[in-house]
Protein backbone atom coordinates (compact mmCIF):
# COMPACT_ATOMS: atom_id res chain seq x y z
CA UNK A 1 0.00 0.00 0.00
CA UNK A 2 3.05 2.17 0.35
CA UNK A 3 3.10 2.51 -3.41
CA UNK A 4 -0.43 3.93 -3.57
CA UNK A 5 0.47 6.58 -0.98
CA UNK A 6 3.58 7.65 -2.86
CA UNK A 7 1.67 7.60 -6.15
CA UNK A 8 -1.00 9.88 -4.71
CA UNK A 9 1.57 12.35 -3.37
CA UNK A 10 3.31 12.27 -6.71
CA UNK A 11 -0.01 13.02 -8.37
CA UNK A 12 -0.37 16.13 -6.20
CA UNK A 13 3.15 17.14 -7.21
CA UNK A 14 2.29 16.80 -10.90
CA UNK A 15 -0.84 18.83 -10.30
CA UNK A 16 1.26 21.63 -8.78
CA UNK A 17 3.65 21.58 -11.74
CA UNK A 18 0.75 21.74 -14.16
CA UNK A 19 -0.89 24.59 -12.25
CA UNK A 20 2.38 26.53 -12.21
CA UNK A 21 2.80 26.13 -15.96
CA UNK A 22 -0.82 27.12 -16.62
CA UNK A 23 -0.46 30.15 -14.37
CA UNK A 24 2.56 31.19 -16.40
CA UNK A 25 0.65 30.74 -19.62
CA UNK A 26 -2.70 32.31 -18.78
CA UNK A 27 -1.84 35.17 -16.42
CA UNK A 28 -0.10 37.33 -19.01
CA UNK A 29 -2.87 36.61 -21.52
CA UNK A 30 -5.65 37.65 -19.15
CA UNK A 31 -4.76 41.28 -19.59
CA UNK A 32 -5.97 41.29 -23.18
CA UNK A 33 -3.08 41.21 -25.58
CA UNK A 34 0.16 39.39 -25.07
CA UNK A 35 2.55 41.56 -23.07
CA UNK A 36 5.49 39.27 -23.89
CA UNK A 37 5.20 40.20 -27.52
CA UNK A 38 4.60 43.83 -26.65
CA UNK A 39 7.78 43.87 -24.57
CA UNK A 40 9.77 42.30 -27.39
CA UNK A 41 8.62 44.94 -29.84
CA UNK A 42 9.18 47.69 -27.29
CA UNK A 43 12.73 46.48 -26.78
CA UNK A 44 13.20 46.33 -30.52
CA UNK A 45 12.08 49.91 -30.98
CA UNK A 46 14.34 51.03 -28.16
CA UNK A 47 17.29 49.55 -30.01
CA UNK A 48 20.53 49.57 -28.09
CA UNK A 49 22.19 46.46 -26.84
CA UNK A 50 19.44 44.02 -27.72
CA UNK A 51 18.99 45.12 -31.32
CA UNK A 52 21.28 42.41 -32.64
CA UNK A 53 19.14 39.51 -31.52
CA UNK A 54 15.70 41.00 -31.70
CA UNK A 55 14.91 39.98 -35.27
CA UNK A 56 15.83 36.39 -34.55
CA UNK A 57 13.94 36.45 -31.32
CA UNK A 58 10.72 37.79 -32.76
CA UNK A 59 10.83 35.21 -35.52
CA UNK A 60 11.68 32.45 -33.08
CA UNK A 61 8.95 33.63 -30.79
CA UNK A 62 6.26 33.70 -33.46
CA UNK A 63 7.38 30.37 -34.80
CA UNK A 64 7.49 28.69 -31.44
CA UNK A 65 4.25 29.99 -30.05
CA UNK A 66 2.49 29.95 -33.39
CA UNK A 67 0.46 33.03 -32.72
CA UNK A 68 -1.85 32.26 -35.62
CA UNK A 69 -2.74 28.89 -34.12
CA UNK A 70 -5.71 28.42 -31.77
CA UNK A 71 -5.16 29.03 -28.07
CA UNK A 72 -5.25 25.38 -27.07
CA UNK A 73 -2.49 24.54 -29.56
CA UNK A 74 -0.33 27.31 -28.09
CA UNK A 75 -1.11 25.98 -24.63
CA UNK A 76 -0.08 22.42 -25.50
CA UNK A 77 3.15 23.63 -27.08
CA UNK A 78 3.85 25.73 -24.02
CA UNK A 79 3.28 22.81 -21.65
CA UNK A 80 5.69 20.76 -23.74
CA UNK A 81 8.35 23.47 -23.49
CA UNK A 82 7.88 23.69 -19.74
CA UNK A 83 8.21 19.92 -19.38
CA UNK A 84 11.59 20.15 -21.13
CA UNK A 85 12.49 23.17 -18.94
CA UNK A 86 12.82 25.23 -22.10
CA UNK A 87 12.06 28.81 -21.08
CA UNK A 88 13.21 30.50 -24.25
CA UNK A 89 15.89 33.20 -24.48
CA UNK A 90 16.36 36.06 -22.06
CA UNK A 91 15.03 39.24 -23.62
CA UNK A 92 17.61 41.50 -21.99
CA UNK A 93 20.62 39.19 -22.22
CA UNK A 94 20.21 37.59 -25.63
CA UNK A 95 21.63 35.08 -26.65
CA UNK A 96 21.73 33.62 -23.14
CA UNK A 97 18.92 31.20 -22.43
CA UNK A 98 16.77 31.61 -19.36
CA UNK A 99 17.66 28.06 -18.35
CA UNK A 100 21.38 28.93 -18.25
CA UNK A 101 20.79 32.04 -16.19
CA UNK A 102 18.66 30.16 -13.67
CA UNK A 103 21.16 27.31 -13.55
CA UNK A 104 23.86 29.86 -12.58
CA UNK A 105 21.78 31.42 -9.83
CA UNK A 106 20.04 28.37 -8.39
CA UNK A 107 23.02 26.79 -6.53
CA UNK A 108 23.54 30.01 -4.56
CA UNK A 109 19.93 30.10 -3.42
CA UNK A 110 19.77 26.38 -2.67
CA UNK A 111 22.98 26.60 -0.66
CA UNK A 112 21.89 29.63 1.33
CA UNK A 113 18.33 28.44 1.86
CA UNK A 114 19.11 24.80 2.54
CA UNK A 115 21.77 25.59 5.12
CA UNK A 116 19.80 28.28 6.90
CA UNK A 117 16.56 26.29 6.97
CA UNK A 118 18.23 23.18 8.37
CA UNK A 119 20.17 25.24 10.92
CA UNK A 120 17.23 27.29 12.12
CA UNK A 121 14.92 24.26 12.19
CA UNK A 122 17.44 22.20 14.16
CA UNK A 123 18.52 24.90 16.59
CA UNK A 124 14.99 26.22 16.98
CA UNK A 125 13.47 22.81 17.72
CA UNK A 126 16.06 21.85 20.33
CA UNK A 127 15.92 25.31 21.89
CA UNK A 128 12.13 25.26 21.99
CA UNK A 129 12.14 21.82 23.58
CA UNK A 130 14.58 23.02 26.25
CA UNK A 131 12.49 26.12 26.89
CA UNK A 132 9.56 23.92 27.86
CA UNK A 133 11.68 21.49 29.88
CA UNK A 134 11.50 22.20 33.63
CA UNK A 135 15.08 20.98 34.21
CA UNK A 136 16.58 23.41 31.71
CA UNK A 137 18.81 26.14 33.14
CA UNK A 138 16.87 29.14 34.34
CA UNK A 139 18.73 31.71 32.24
CA UNK A 140 17.13 30.18 29.16
CA UNK A 141 13.85 31.81 30.14
CA UNK A 142 15.43 35.14 29.28
CA UNK A 143 15.69 34.01 25.68
CA UNK A 144 11.93 33.90 25.15
CA UNK A 145 11.13 37.62 24.75
CA UNK A 146 13.94 38.32 22.23
CA UNK A 147 12.98 35.19 20.28
CA UNK A 148 9.40 36.41 20.11
CA UNK A 149 10.42 39.86 18.99
CA UNK A 150 12.85 38.53 16.34
CA UNK A 151 10.26 36.12 15.05
CA UNK A 152 7.90 38.99 14.19
CA UNK A 153 10.47 40.79 12.01
CA UNK A 154 10.73 40.11 8.27
CA UNK A 155 14.08 38.56 7.23
CA UNK A 156 15.12 41.42 5.00
CA UNK A 157 14.54 44.09 7.65
CA UNK A 158 16.98 42.35 9.97
CA UNK A 159 19.25 42.11 6.93
CA UNK A 160 19.15 45.89 6.54
CA UNK A 161 20.05 46.41 10.19
CA UNK A 162 22.87 43.84 10.01
CA UNK A 163 24.22 45.48 6.86
CA UNK A 164 24.45 48.79 8.64
CA UNK A 165 26.07 47.31 11.74
CA UNK A 166 28.70 45.43 9.78
CA UNK A 167 29.30 48.03 7.12
CA UNK A 168 29.95 50.95 9.44
CA UNK A 169 30.04 50.01 13.10
CA UNK A 170 32.08 46.79 13.00
CA UNK A 171 33.42 46.44 9.45
CA UNK A 172 34.37 42.77 9.70
CA UNK A 173 32.23 41.05 7.12
CA UNK A 174 31.51 41.81 3.48
CA UNK A 175 27.96 43.08 2.98
CA UNK A 176 27.48 42.78 -0.74
CA UNK A 177 27.63 40.07 -3.39
CA UNK A 178 28.43 36.38 -3.30
CA UNK A 179 32.24 36.63 -3.50
CA UNK A 180 34.87 39.36 -3.77
CA UNK A 181 35.06 41.21 -7.06
CA UNK A 182 38.59 40.04 -7.91
CA UNK A 183 38.32 36.46 -6.71
CA UNK A 184 38.53 33.74 -9.33
CA UNK A 185 35.74 31.19 -8.79
CA UNK A 186 37.22 27.74 -8.22
CA UNK A 187 37.81 25.15 -5.58
CA UNK A 188 40.58 26.80 -3.63
CA UNK A 189 40.47 27.28 0.13
CA UNK A 190 40.74 30.97 -0.35
CA UNK A 191 37.68 31.13 -2.59
CA UNK A 192 35.61 28.86 -0.36
CA UNK A 193 36.43 31.07 2.63
CA UNK A 194 35.53 34.13 0.60
CA UNK A 195 32.15 32.67 -0.35
CA UNK A 196 31.42 31.63 3.22
CA UNK A 197 32.24 35.04 4.64
CA UNK A 198 29.94 36.65 2.07
CA UNK A 199 27.16 34.20 2.93
CA UNK A 200 27.43 34.79 6.66
CA UNK A 201 25.34 37.95 6.99
CA UNK A 202 22.50 36.89 4.66
CA UNK A 203 22.44 33.54 6.46
CA UNK A 204 22.45 35.20 9.86
CA UNK A 205 19.49 37.42 9.01
CA UNK A 206 17.47 34.34 8.04
CA UNK A 207 18.62 32.07 10.88
CA UNK A 208 18.08 34.62 13.67
CA UNK A 209 14.49 35.28 12.61
CA UNK A 210 13.50 31.75 11.65
CA UNK A 211 14.95 30.11 14.77
CA UNK A 212 12.52 32.11 16.92
CA UNK A 213 9.53 30.77 15.02
CA UNK A 214 10.61 27.15 15.25
CA UNK A 215 11.52 27.52 18.94
CA UNK A 216 8.12 29.00 19.81
CA UNK A 217 6.26 26.31 17.87
CA UNK A 218 8.33 23.56 19.46
CA UNK A 219 7.84 24.98 22.94
CA UNK A 220 4.07 24.87 22.51
CA UNK A 221 4.19 21.27 21.30
CA UNK A 222 6.52 20.23 24.14
CA UNK A 223 4.16 21.66 26.76
CA UNK A 224 1.31 19.60 25.31
CA UNK A 225 3.42 16.46 24.97
CA UNK A 226 4.75 16.64 28.50
CA UNK A 227 1.19 16.56 29.80
CA UNK A 228 0.56 13.18 28.12
CA UNK A 229 0.00 10.09 30.22
CA UNK A 230 2.87 8.16 28.68
CA UNK A 231 5.35 10.79 29.88
CA UNK A 232 3.97 10.57 33.42
CA UNK A 233 4.24 6.79 33.11
CA UNK A 234 7.85 7.06 31.95
CA UNK A 235 8.66 9.23 34.92
CA UNK A 236 6.92 6.79 37.28
CA UNK A 237 9.01 3.96 35.80
CA UNK A 238 12.08 5.89 36.89
CA UNK A 239 13.58 6.44 33.45
CA UNK A 240 16.48 8.85 33.26
CA UNK A 241 15.45 12.43 32.47
CA UNK A 242 17.55 12.59 29.25
CA UNK A 243 15.78 9.48 27.96
CA UNK A 244 12.39 10.97 28.73
CA UNK A 245 13.41 14.24 27.13
CA UNK A 246 14.78 12.78 23.92
CA UNK A 247 12.81 9.59 23.30
CA UNK A 248 9.48 10.41 24.88
CA UNK A 249 8.98 14.15 24.53
CA UNK A 250 11.16 15.47 21.74
CA UNK A 251 10.50 12.57 19.40
CA UNK A 252 6.75 13.16 19.59
CA UNK A 253 6.73 16.92 19.76
CA UNK A 254 8.84 17.32 16.63
CA UNK A 255 6.28 15.67 14.34
CA UNK A 256 3.98 18.70 13.93
CA UNK A 257 7.13 20.78 13.40
CA UNK A 258 7.97 18.72 10.31
CA UNK A 259 4.46 19.27 8.98
CA UNK A 260 4.87 22.98 9.64
CA UNK A 261 8.22 22.91 7.81
CA UNK A 262 6.56 21.54 4.68
CA UNK A 263 4.01 24.36 4.83
CA UNK A 264 6.53 27.08 5.65
CA UNK A 265 8.96 26.39 2.78
CA UNK A 266 7.15 28.72 0.41
CA UNK A 267 7.11 31.51 2.97
CA UNK A 268 10.80 31.04 3.80
CA UNK A 269 11.66 31.24 0.13
CA UNK A 270 9.62 34.42 -0.34
CA UNK A 271 11.55 35.96 2.53
CA UNK A 272 14.93 34.76 1.29
CA UNK A 273 14.33 36.33 -2.13
CA UNK A 274 14.24 39.74 -0.45
CA UNK A 275 17.31 38.98 1.68
CA UNK A 276 19.22 38.23 -1.52
CA UNK A 277 18.06 41.55 -2.95
CA UNK A 278 19.27 43.45 0.12
CA UNK A 279 22.69 41.80 0.07
CA UNK A 280 23.04 41.58 -3.70
CA UNK A 281 23.55 37.84 -3.24
CA UNK A 282 23.88 36.27 -6.70
CA UNK A 283 20.94 33.85 -6.36
CA UNK A 284 17.40 33.65 -7.67
CA UNK A 285 16.25 36.77 -5.81
CA UNK A 286 18.81 39.08 -7.37
CA UNK A 287 18.21 37.55 -10.79
CA UNK A 288 14.51 38.21 -10.27
CA UNK A 289 15.09 41.84 -9.30
CA UNK A 290 17.24 42.33 -12.37
CA UNK A 291 14.63 40.68 -14.58
CA UNK A 292 11.89 42.89 -13.16
CA UNK A 293 13.95 46.00 -13.82
CA UNK A 294 14.70 44.91 -17.37
CA UNK A 295 11.13 43.74 -18.03
CA UNK A 296 12.58 40.34 -18.86
CA UNK A 297 9.34 38.40 -18.88
CA UNK A 298 10.77 35.01 -19.81
CA UNK A 299 13.24 35.08 -16.93
CA UNK A 300 10.49 35.96 -14.43
CA UNK A 301 8.29 33.15 -15.73
CA UNK A 302 11.17 30.71 -15.69
CA UNK A 303 12.08 31.53 -12.11
CA UNK A 304 8.49 31.28 -10.89
CA UNK A 305 8.08 27.91 -12.59
CA UNK A 306 11.40 26.45 -11.40
CA UNK A 307 10.89 27.61 -7.83
CA UNK A 308 7.35 26.24 -7.61
CA UNK A 309 8.55 22.91 -9.00
CA UNK A 310 11.54 22.81 -6.64
CA UNK A 311 9.37 23.53 -3.61
CA UNK A 312 6.79 21.01 -4.78
CA UNK A 313 9.61 18.46 -4.92
CA UNK A 314 10.80 19.37 -1.41
CA UNK A 315 7.24 19.00 -0.10
CA UNK A 316 6.93 15.66 -1.88
CA UNK A 317 10.12 14.40 -0.20
CA UNK A 318 8.92 15.57 3.23
CA UNK A 319 5.56 13.88 2.61
CA UNK A 320 7.24 10.61 1.73
CA UNK A 321 9.60 10.77 4.71
CA UNK A 322 6.87 11.70 7.16
CA UNK A 323 5.26 8.27 7.73
CA UNK A 324 8.74 6.97 8.45
CA UNK A 325 9.12 9.59 11.18
CA UNK A 326 5.67 8.92 12.55
CA UNK A 327 4.76 5.24 12.17
CA UNK A 328 1.25 5.96 13.47
CA UNK A 329 0.46 7.56 10.13
CA UNK A 330 0.21 4.44 8.04
CA UNK A 331 0.73 4.80 4.34
CA UNK A 332 -2.68 3.33 3.84
CA UNK A 333 -4.95 5.74 5.62
CA UNK A 334 -3.66 9.05 4.41
Amino acid sequence: MQLAYIARRFGVFLLIVWLAASLNFFLPRLSGQDPVRAKLLQQASLGGYVAAGIEDMTREYEHRFGLDKPLWRQYVTYLGDMARLDFNYSIANYPRTVRDMIADALPWTIGLLGTTTLLSFGIGSVLGALLAWPRAPRWMMWLIPPLWALHAIPFFLLGLILTYLFAFQIPLLPIFGGYSAGAAPGFSWHFVGDVLSHALLPALSIVLVATGGWALGMRGMMVTTMGEDYVVFAEAKGLKPPTIFLRYCLRNAILPQVTALALALGQILSGAVLVEVIFGYPGIGTLLLQAIRENDHFVIQGIVFIVIVALGLATLILDIVYPWLDPRISYRRT
Partner: protein, 282 residues
Amino acid sequence: MRAVLRYLRRNPSLALGLALLMAITLFVVVGSLVVDPEDARPLSAPTLQPPSQDYPFGTDRQGRDLLAVMVVGTPLTLRIGFIAGLIGVGLGAVLAFVAAYYRGIADTVIRGIADIGLTVPGLLVLILIAVSIKGTLTVNQMAIVVASLAWLYPTRTIRAQVLSLRERGFVEMARLSGMSGPSIIFVELMPNLLPYLGATLVNAVSAAILASIGLEVLGLGPIDTPTLGMTLYWVNFNAAMINGWWWWWLAPTVIILTVFLGLFFLTVGLDEIANPRLRRSA
Protein backbone atom coordinates in the same frame (compact mmCIF):
# COMPACT_ATOMS: atom_id res chain seq x y z
CA MET B 1 -12.58 51.76 31.45
CA ARG B 2 -11.03 50.51 34.65
CA ALA B 3 -12.06 46.96 33.78
CA VAL B 4 -10.30 47.29 30.45
CA LEU B 5 -7.13 48.49 32.15
CA ARG B 6 -7.27 45.64 34.63
CA TYR B 7 -7.66 43.16 31.80
CA LEU B 8 -4.74 44.66 29.93
CA ARG B 9 -2.54 44.14 32.99
CA ARG B 10 -3.43 40.45 32.88
CA ASN B 11 -2.74 40.29 29.15
CA PRO B 12 0.53 42.19 28.65
CA SER B 13 0.93 41.05 25.02
CA LEU B 14 -2.35 42.71 24.09
CA ALA B 15 -1.34 45.88 25.94
CA LEU B 16 2.06 46.00 24.26
CA GLY B 17 0.58 45.37 20.81
CA LEU B 18 -2.04 48.08 21.27
CA ALA B 19 0.55 50.51 22.63
CA LEU B 20 2.86 50.05 19.65
CA LEU B 21 0.02 50.49 17.15
CA MET B 22 -1.23 53.56 19.05
CA ALA B 23 2.24 55.05 18.83
CA ILE B 24 2.15 54.64 15.04
CA THR B 25 -1.34 56.16 14.84
CA LEU B 26 -0.25 59.06 17.02
CA PHE B 27 2.79 59.66 14.82
CA VAL B 28 0.64 59.78 11.69
CA VAL B 29 -2.08 61.98 13.22
CA VAL B 30 0.29 64.50 14.79
CA GLY B 31 2.55 64.35 11.75
CA SER B 32 -0.22 65.16 9.32
CA LEU B 33 -1.02 68.29 11.36
CA VAL B 34 2.56 69.51 11.18
CA VAL B 35 3.72 68.38 7.77
CA ASP B 36 2.73 69.46 4.28
CA PRO B 37 2.01 66.26 2.31
CA GLU B 38 3.33 67.98 -0.81
CA ASP B 39 6.82 67.66 0.69
CA ALA B 40 6.62 63.90 0.12
CA ARG B 41 7.05 64.55 -3.60
CA PRO B 42 10.47 64.63 -5.22
CA LEU B 43 12.23 68.00 -5.58
CA SER B 44 10.46 69.61 -2.63
CA ALA B 45 13.61 69.78 -0.48
CA PRO B 46 17.38 69.89 -0.90
CA THR B 47 18.72 66.41 -1.66
CA LEU B 48 20.46 64.05 0.76
CA GLN B 49 20.33 66.20 3.88
CA PRO B 50 21.03 64.35 7.11
CA PRO B 51 18.48 64.96 9.89
CA SER B 52 18.46 68.61 10.96
CA GLN B 53 16.17 71.20 12.49
CA ASP B 54 14.30 71.76 9.23
CA TYR B 55 14.20 68.13 8.15
CA PRO B 56 14.05 65.98 11.30
CA PHE B 57 14.22 62.73 9.31
CA GLY B 58 16.53 64.07 6.59
CA THR B 59 15.83 64.08 2.86
CA ASP B 60 16.46 61.55 0.12
CA ARG B 61 18.31 61.72 -3.17
CA GLN B 62 15.27 62.84 -5.15
CA GLY B 63 14.62 65.65 -2.67
CA ARG B 64 11.72 64.23 -0.69
CA ASP B 65 11.35 65.33 2.92
CA LEU B 66 11.50 61.94 4.64
CA LEU B 67 9.31 63.02 7.56
CA ALA B 68 6.56 63.91 5.10
CA VAL B 69 7.18 60.63 3.25
CA MET B 70 6.68 58.68 6.47
CA VAL B 71 3.56 60.62 7.45
CA VAL B 72 2.00 60.08 4.01
CA GLY B 73 3.38 56.61 3.38
CA THR B 74 2.60 54.83 6.65
CA PRO B 75 -1.20 55.07 6.28
CA LEU B 76 -0.92 53.99 2.65
CA THR B 77 0.99 50.86 3.60
CA LEU B 78 -1.45 50.15 6.42
CA ARG B 79 -4.35 50.68 4.01
CA ILE B 80 -2.99 48.07 1.62
CA GLY B 81 -2.66 45.68 4.55
CA PHE B 82 -6.15 46.31 5.89
CA ILE B 83 -7.95 46.07 2.55
CA ALA B 84 -6.09 42.90 1.57
CA GLY B 85 -6.45 41.40 5.05
CA LEU B 86 -10.19 42.14 5.20
CA ILE B 87 -10.82 40.66 1.76
CA GLY B 88 -8.65 37.67 2.64
CA VAL B 89 -10.35 36.88 5.93
CA GLY B 90 -13.83 37.64 4.57
CA LEU B 91 -13.41 35.35 1.60
CA GLY B 92 -11.56 32.80 3.70
CA ALA B 93 -14.29 32.74 6.34
CA VAL B 94 -17.06 32.23 3.77
CA LEU B 95 -15.16 29.42 2.06
CA ALA B 96 -14.20 27.85 5.39
CA PHE B 97 -17.77 27.88 6.71
CA VAL B 98 -19.12 26.42 3.48
CA ALA B 99 -16.41 23.76 3.41
CA ALA B 100 -16.54 22.76 7.05
CA TYR B 101 -20.28 22.98 7.59
CA TYR B 102 -21.52 21.33 4.41
CA ARG B 103 -18.51 19.00 3.85
CA GLY B 104 -18.78 16.81 0.74
CA ILE B 105 -17.41 17.86 -2.61
CA ALA B 106 -17.21 21.57 -1.72
CA ASP B 107 -14.96 20.73 1.21
CA THR B 108 -12.69 18.52 -0.89
CA VAL B 109 -12.27 21.19 -3.56
CA ILE B 110 -11.78 24.14 -1.18
CA ARG B 111 -9.38 22.28 1.09
CA GLY B 112 -7.46 20.96 -1.90
CA ILE B 113 -6.99 24.41 -3.41
CA ALA B 114 -5.97 25.94 -0.08
CA ASP B 115 -3.50 23.14 0.67
CA ILE B 116 -1.85 23.31 -2.72
CA GLY B 117 -1.89 27.11 -2.77
CA LEU B 118 -0.13 27.28 0.58
CA THR B 119 2.84 25.20 -0.57
CA VAL B 120 3.45 27.63 -3.43
CA PRO B 121 5.66 30.63 -2.56
CA GLY B 122 3.12 33.44 -2.45
CA LEU B 123 5.48 36.27 -3.27
CA LEU B 124 6.48 34.72 -6.60
CA VAL B 125 2.88 34.27 -7.72
CA LEU B 126 2.14 37.84 -6.67
CA ILE B 127 5.15 38.98 -8.72
CA LEU B 128 3.77 37.14 -11.73
CA ILE B 129 0.37 38.79 -11.26
CA ALA B 130 1.88 42.25 -10.76
CA VAL B 131 4.08 41.89 -13.84
CA SER B 132 1.13 40.78 -15.95
CA ILE B 133 -0.87 43.89 -15.13
CA LYS B 134 0.02 46.62 -17.52
CA GLY B 135 1.03 50.06 -16.32
CA THR B 136 1.77 51.09 -12.75
CA LEU B 137 -0.47 50.01 -9.93
CA THR B 138 -2.46 52.30 -7.66
CA VAL B 139 -2.53 51.66 -3.93
CA ASN B 140 -5.96 50.04 -4.11
CA GLN B 141 -4.99 47.80 -7.04
CA MET B 142 -1.96 46.80 -5.03
CA ALA B 143 -4.26 45.76 -2.17
CA ILE B 144 -6.34 43.64 -4.55
CA VAL B 145 -3.26 41.94 -5.97
CA VAL B 146 -2.11 41.05 -2.46
CA ALA B 147 -5.63 39.93 -1.49
CA SER B 148 -5.68 37.43 -4.35
CA LEU B 149 -3.66 35.03 -2.21
CA ALA B 150 -4.50 36.36 1.25
CA TRP B 151 -7.52 34.07 1.70
CA LEU B 152 -5.59 30.79 1.58
CA TYR B 153 -4.28 30.70 5.13
CA PRO B 154 -7.47 32.02 6.81
CA THR B 155 -9.52 29.43 4.90
CA ARG B 156 -7.37 26.64 6.22
CA THR B 157 -7.28 27.68 9.87
CA ILE B 158 -10.91 28.82 10.16
CA ARG B 159 -12.04 25.58 8.56
CA ALA B 160 -10.22 23.59 11.22
CA GLN B 161 -11.92 25.65 13.94
CA VAL B 162 -15.38 25.22 12.43
CA LEU B 163 -14.83 21.48 12.08
CA SER B 164 -14.31 21.10 15.80
CA LEU B 165 -17.12 23.53 16.64
CA ARG B 166 -19.79 21.90 14.51
CA GLU B 167 -19.63 18.68 16.55
CA ARG B 168 -20.56 20.49 19.78
CA GLY B 169 -23.88 19.91 21.47
CA PHE B 170 -25.41 23.31 20.86
CA VAL B 171 -24.91 23.06 17.11
CA GLU B 172 -26.46 19.62 17.13
CA MET B 173 -29.35 21.08 19.12
CA ALA B 174 -29.86 23.90 16.62
CA ARG B 175 -29.81 21.43 13.75
CA LEU B 176 -32.39 19.19 15.44
CA SER B 177 -34.64 22.16 16.12
CA GLY B 178 -34.81 22.75 12.38
CA MET B 179 -32.56 25.77 11.92
CA SER B 180 -31.33 26.20 8.38
CA GLY B 181 -27.68 25.86 7.45
CA PRO B 182 -26.95 29.57 6.87
CA SER B 183 -28.65 30.66 10.07
CA ILE B 184 -26.72 28.06 12.08
CA ILE B 185 -23.53 29.44 10.54
CA PHE B 186 -24.41 33.06 11.33
CA VAL B 187 -26.26 32.70 14.63
CA GLU B 188 -24.53 29.74 16.27
CA LEU B 189 -21.05 29.34 14.78
CA MET B 190 -19.96 32.86 13.85
CA PRO B 191 -20.39 34.51 17.30
CA ASN B 192 -18.35 31.75 18.92
CA LEU B 193 -15.52 32.26 16.49
CA LEU B 194 -15.42 36.06 16.63
CA PRO B 195 -12.31 36.37 18.84
CA TYR B 196 -10.61 33.79 16.68
CA LEU B 197 -11.62 35.63 13.50
CA GLY B 198 -10.18 38.79 15.06
CA ALA B 199 -6.81 37.14 15.65
CA THR B 200 -6.88 35.71 12.12
CA LEU B 201 -7.61 39.16 10.71
CA VAL B 202 -4.67 40.76 12.50
CA ASN B 203 -2.47 37.95 11.24
CA ALA B 204 -3.74 38.39 7.69
CA VAL B 205 -3.16 42.15 7.81
CA SER B 206 0.40 41.56 8.94
CA ALA B 207 1.01 39.01 6.18
CA ALA B 208 -0.52 41.35 3.58
CA ILE B 209 1.69 44.25 4.65
CA LEU B 210 4.71 41.98 4.42
CA ALA B 211 3.69 40.82 0.94
CA SER B 212 3.06 44.36 -0.27
CA ILE B 213 6.41 45.58 1.06
CA GLY B 214 8.06 42.59 -0.60
CA LEU B 215 6.54 43.47 -3.96
CA GLU B 216 7.46 47.12 -3.53
CA VAL B 217 11.09 46.42 -2.59
CA LEU B 218 11.34 44.52 -5.87
CA GLY B 219 10.01 47.57 -7.70
CA LEU B 220 6.53 46.23 -8.45
CA GLY B 221 4.58 48.65 -6.32
CA PRO B 222 2.91 51.97 -7.02
CA ILE B 223 6.11 53.66 -8.25
CA ASP B 224 5.02 57.27 -7.73
CA THR B 225 3.42 56.74 -4.30
CA PRO B 226 5.61 57.13 -1.21
CA THR B 227 4.62 53.92 0.65
CA LEU B 228 7.08 52.42 3.14
CA GLY B 229 8.00 49.64 0.74
CA MET B 230 8.65 52.05 -2.13
CA THR B 231 10.92 54.07 0.15
CA LEU B 232 12.93 50.91 0.78
CA TYR B 233 12.99 50.27 -2.97
CA TRP B 234 14.65 53.64 -3.54
CA VAL B 235 17.01 52.95 -0.63
CA ASN B 236 18.10 49.75 -2.32
CA PHE B 237 18.07 51.27 -5.82
CA ASN B 238 20.42 54.09 -4.79
CA ALA B 239 22.60 51.81 -2.64
CA ALA B 240 21.98 54.15 0.32
CA MET B 241 23.34 51.49 2.62
CA ILE B 242 26.81 51.41 1.13
CA ASN B 243 26.90 55.17 0.62
CA GLY B 244 26.28 55.78 4.30
CA TRP B 245 22.98 57.64 3.98
CA TRP B 246 21.71 55.98 7.13
CA TRP B 247 18.77 58.32 7.79
CA TRP B 248 17.14 57.28 4.53
CA TRP B 249 16.39 53.73 5.66
CA LEU B 250 16.31 54.27 9.42
CA ALA B 251 12.84 55.86 9.57
CA PRO B 252 11.02 53.33 7.35
CA THR B 253 12.80 50.45 9.09
CA VAL B 254 11.79 51.63 12.55
CA ILE B 255 8.19 52.20 11.48
CA ILE B 256 7.88 48.83 9.74
CA LEU B 257 9.46 47.16 12.76
CA THR B 258 6.98 48.85 15.10
CA VAL B 259 4.02 47.89 12.91
CA PHE B 260 5.04 44.23 12.71
CA LEU B 261 5.85 43.94 16.40
CA GLY B 262 2.58 45.70 17.28
CA LEU B 263 0.51 43.41 15.06
CA PHE B 264 2.37 40.35 16.32
CA PHE B 265 1.79 41.09 20.00
CA LEU B 266 -1.82 41.99 19.22
CA THR B 267 -2.29 38.52 17.69
CA VAL B 268 -0.72 36.86 20.70
CA GLY B 269 -3.01 38.84 22.98
CA LEU B 270 -6.11 38.08 20.90
CA ASP B 271 -5.14 34.41 20.78
CA GLU B 272 -5.22 34.39 24.53
CA ILE B 273 -8.75 35.78 24.49
CA ALA B 274 -9.80 33.30 21.83
CA ASN B 275 -8.18 30.33 23.53
CA PRO B 276 -8.10 30.77 27.32
CA ARG B 277 -6.39 27.40 27.71
CA LEU B 278 -3.17 29.03 26.53
CA ARG B 279 -3.07 30.96 29.78
CA ARG B 280 -2.26 27.96 31.91
CA SER B 281 0.50 26.64 29.70
CA ALA B 282 2.24 29.94 29.15
